[in-house]
Chain length 159, copies 2
């Protein structure tokens, strides 16, 4: 694919991201999901306006695309993001089975304007006992039963 | 805090998770967010019923709590999850400023019943060129301008 092909979709993401910042919707981030050359989902960071810390551009675009195609599986689609996805969004990209990622700014550049993406990547790569966030494992009599019930469920939809 | 104190909240999460599995809402996962000893948010995995790959229990609980308190910042609150959070949910926990995590089943046990949490943790810890997911950095003339606009915005809400 030519640079022009990719820029067509990035242009949409950047335009939406500028509008989002100017209308106080959220941070400077936009994303577009494309399948077979067509846009199937759009998203901008909406953390502030939605009071939702999970409302990052890529998450919003994934939700939008899934709603539009009425499926939780985006296999074969591509995401264009104005910035390297944070670990929440990157994990969501894996869960959604998106096949390829294109991005412009980096997590280091995002850190330079005050976002914690890089810090969260570092935290996740540590064993839980070394993280800043206290992490406690508890026993519960239902834990094994719940997983067994899923495993034995005959009409389950795997995802 | 005593084990009884924690189990009070875990009991709620497990009960909701069993109901979610039995009604084909989603996978076997539930979460509860607690502040000052009171439940402020609930969530169950709703990936299947919502057609939303981001609708994990912890994400749903974070969104519910933020809606209930009308704020994107959950500082000082605690999350109880029936299972160790996947990297998407753990990152969301960081973005939401949740202060502590309690969980029962582990990501290894989740892998044993078919969930990819452990695999995604492994992928995220790799430099992007070693991941299974193709990752491409592109240049775009708006990238630096967008970040600069955020940086210079005088009425921005940091998050």
């Amino acid at each position: 694919m030519s640079e022009d092909f990719h820029h067509r979709f990035l242009d949409i993401a950047f335009k939406a991201a500028f509008a989002s910042v100017r209308s106080n919707k959220g941070g400077p981030f936009g994303a577009v999901i494309v399948k077979d050359g067509h846009v199937i989902g759009n998203g901008v960071n909406s953390v502030i306006s939605n009071n939702d810390p999970t409302a990052h551009a890529e998450i919003m675009a994934i939700r939008d695309a899934c709603r539009n195609i009425a499926n939780f599986d985006l296999e074969g689609s591509v995401i264009y993001s104005t910035c390297e996805p944070c670990p929440m969004c990157l994990s969501a990209i894996y869960w959604a089975n998106i096949s390829e990622v294109y991005y412009c700014s980096t997590k280091v550049e995002a850190a330079e304007i005050g976002f914690r993406d890089h810090h969260i990547y570092d935290e996740l790569s540590l064993p839980s006992e070394y993280r800043n966030l206290p992490f406690h494992k508890l026993d519960h009599p239902q834990a094994a039963k719940l997983f067994l019930e899923w495993q034995n469920k005959e009409d389950k939809t795997p995802y």
